[in-house]
Symmetry: D2
Subunit: 324 residues, 4 copies
């Protein structure tokens, strides 16, 4: 399988389908169309599905809303509601669930700062449950939240920090928020992926080598992510494909050229691009120029979605009240 | 004992001496005068000393440099060196020590952000020891660092977070950096206190109820703090004393007035001030107006001091190279 | 007149009344009580009023809402509406007015950063009027906005920067936002003052030596300010008065003491405090510990108020949409 | 000429040379090799040179140091020195020159924040010349500094703000700092361009439509810029050229293919890429992932360079003392 960086299950599926006919054995896919968004639910059912998609079994839900880049406040509110609904539909939490929200990523690197910015904005309540020695509350659930930083900042693997805290505070559920990589520019900052499998080794754009999943932490892990970058080599690769496709249609050229293009496998082409770019391009990413403002907006959408989904007394009408 | 907020052992001693003659039983005090600074070492020797000073036994070192507010770069460098020397003299670390530095306090509240700002600036190396599977290095020691936030932000007690991480990463030494409260305006931002006793319940300006000490964490804890605020009631109280003292000298007034002043005990006076200020003044602090810049400067002094003290290959000449 | 730092006309009036009987000649005062706020309109009518109050003739409107510190979202929205209503009632702008909003103060010093933070949040539209060559619009008025910094940061007097921009862009109205000093802790962060006289030499907490007024700029200037600090000497002074008042009532002491207290004039007492505090206290201010968050909240209240007052198509229901 | 975005004179020259033989008529070029850097001085001598290079006559100096991305402190210090030397060699300032430094760009958009970040770090002195009524000083020159923001933030053209301030404060020299666009990834964040022609319409990555040049401002303008982004279409274009070049060499393919490639002009190819990317890619840029930290470092290099070049009493040994 080609080493194109993506964290989205729907893109693993697309890459499979580029090379194979029909649906992938071992997975089940459902689509739902809303007015301004599409929801795709990819279920990996068994070992075969795991192998074919390169991800552990579980559900991967993608909410795509291309219009999100138009910065429309109503659509943002709508996205928070849709996100909240999908979280609740997973059935991982109710009003008695103790949740620890973890904001992964590096707050010094704008496209990687989504997780920490969500943490700044979620409603944290665990301290009141402790202070008043309560087990439940009429309006809010027990929520704690933390941004552990990245290994380059702390010298400590994120997983170790989270596991230590989970052992001390014993939450029922961990929710991990992270910035993702996509292979398609049009998904960047317009797509939210949820999964009940947590975050697994090999995935992600950073150095998150330990998995943040139930196996490692001992409690279920819901992961929520947004692709915020496309790596530069991926973008060049995909654009070249589009260009060549376009040239094929337009140009009246003979068989030799097509033969040559078909002769170069996708892997070779991507490797070639990587090699060409290597000298000056380690760690290059493609982002919209206004990425700082976009990450702010996305963090509000997700924090609002979490506040609605976790706290039974908070509804969208008043959700902006709890946001900083 | 009066409930005046201070975290400085030398101020506990001053308060004792205001009401008693002679040195405090159970403690030993040494002074050292430098050109631009004074070092006071208060050693609490036994249970009697603990009771008299209201602090656990151990050593409390105070470096005072009133000129520090003049923003002189040479003096700042000097302070980093003095701090490094005092840290090393405590004998808590050598080049094989694995150290976890913890930055306590709330990054959203300027005078409480000293700890987190130091963490942003210390040289973190543990990730390289792991990546290269090394136990020691020619120039740097094994250092990790983290700002756990405060309970109001995370819903989790700072002590729980740190203890979880200590159990996972097994450092030999924890160094805790914190903003302190002083009762004397002249000590604010000009004084550094080190102690081998860690941070203990009751001390501090925040809600740090669990102790960060060897008893709780299982490893020695070095605490480093700077008083960054005086609480408003304390300042009014002390200023009134100065005023009244000044009035006594100047005014030619009779016995009745002195009698009255002496009749009001210190406790009563402070309580009275607290009551008068209460309605509009919960949580008021007194700071210099440029506190944002001062906290930045102090965090550089401490981070430089730590970088020199912990890493055997870093000296003051090149220490600014490792600072962000 | 005593040199106690205040920028509030109602406090100048209070100080006058502490030493004189009856209303101040040359001024007219109106009060209005709302549910959660009080509005006081002080009108300086003539030269006598100017002399008595130490401020140029014009109107000074104070909106006080002590509950504002409780961080209640509905009250904040209410304050934005009240502010918008008072701005409109001044009759300085309509939908064709070209307004330049100026955020005074130093963004590096939290309690002085109110103006710059408001500028970050107001809806700026002048660029669209230029791009589409329009003179008017159905929903928004022509608004530009700028934070000029302070002389310590730029080396340039604020007034020079603003005057240069006014000459180039020719607005009809300048609105200047500034952090103020109060003499009463209970007014800090709970009070908004508006005035049609702009900002005048001698007022303010910074080095704003040039006036920002119609005389200097050539266009009317509306000033909006919030007291965000009390200087430390003022606070000690006022607290001592409260304490001594309280002691008088409680203590059964004779005439000599009262005589002495009455013998010390207010001026002398304040001077004495200043002298005592001077050595270690230049530029000390008293603020709530959470001043960073409070300034954020206040900047949203004022920016929302301005957005409603200036743009005829924006109402409170949708005002939060235009806020960053 | 192709509409490829670049602000670097050396890249205009490269593009000319890709399509023409020999040196460009009307320009003169000098190269100097240092150990870790190359300096190229492009002088546009006459109208012919202006037309061929698409830039006004004057000198364009480029300092290129590919190793700069290795984050080596000594090289950074070296770059500050080289920059200072080049500034002084232009002969635009001496110790009596009154300089206004202008930081162009949007502080909310990381790769565009270089100018504002330099302003935060230069030593500003004009206020002292005014306070002490001095015309000259033994160690520092008269420097003021300002970040005017961008039109999207203020509603005012940058040029209008600067011109207003120049008319009020009458500097002898304006220095404008700006983030630039390059067409080559390897130049991003490793190249500094200086020019005595200021900033001219059409250049730049933002909406700076008024020129910041001597003609408009009435005083000489030195511009200093660093390319911080490559636009995405440019990067795809250049990478495709590299790939196709590489394929040509490797593949054993016949004449038809080469014929087709040669048949597509550069303009057509770039236009095709633009069209293909348009739907999802307005305003995409390519940057290193750690752009936030890189911009910080670059701003220190430039601010140090300016502090040395402008203030006769500041040398590299002590220059870090004046940096925040």
């Amino acid at each position: 399988m080609i080493e194109i960086r993506t964290d989205l299950a729907i893109e693993n599926r697309e890459m499979y389908q580029e090379q194979n006919e029909g649906e992938i054995p071992g997975i089940k896919v459902e689509n739902k169309e809303g007015k301004d968004y599409t929801i795709t639910r990819v279920r990996i059912l068994d070992e075969l599905g795991e192998k074919n998609l390169g991800k552990p079994r579980g559900i991967y839900i993608t909410i795509e809303s291309p219009k999100l880049k138009n910065s429309d406040q109503e659509l943002k509110d709508e996205m928070s509601k849709v996100l909240a609904k999908e979280i609740k539909a997973l059935g991982m939490n109710d009003e008695n669930t103790k949740t620890l929200i973890v904001g992964l990523g590096n707050w010094n690197v704008t496209p990687d700062a989504l997780g920490p910015k969500v943490i700044d904005r979620v409603l944290v309540t665990r301290q009141f449950f402790i202070a008043y020695k309560k087990d439940s509350d009429e309006t809010v659930a027990n929520v704690s939240a933390l941004s552990p930083g990245v290994m380059g900042l702390t010298g400590i693997e994120t997983g170790e920090i989270i596991k230590g805290i989970v052992e001390k505070t014993k939450p029922d559920l961990v929710i991990a928020i992270d910035a993702l990589a996509s292979r398609r520019m049009e998904r960047v900052n317009t797509t939210i992926q949820l999964s009940d499998t947590g975050i697994n080794p090999g995935a992600g754009i950073g150095n998150k080598r330990l998995g943040l999943n139930e196996e490692f932490l001992g409690v279920p892990v819901l992961s929520i992510g947004v692709p915020t970058v496309v790596d530069a080599a991926t973008m060049v690769n995909d654009t070249m494909d589009l260009i060549i496709g376009s040239m094929k249609e337009q140009a009246d050229v003979g068989t030799e050229f097509y033969g040559m293009l078909e002769g170069i496998s996708n892997e070779d082409k991507y490797t070639l691009i990587k090699e060409v770019l290597e000298p000056y391009m380690s760690n290059l990413v493609v982002t919209p120029k206004e990425i700082d403002l976009i990450i702010d907006d996305l963090s509000i959408i997700i924090a609002n979605g979490l506040n609605i989904a976790l706290h039974h007394g908070i509804h969208l009408d008043d959700v902006n009240r709890y946001i900083r």
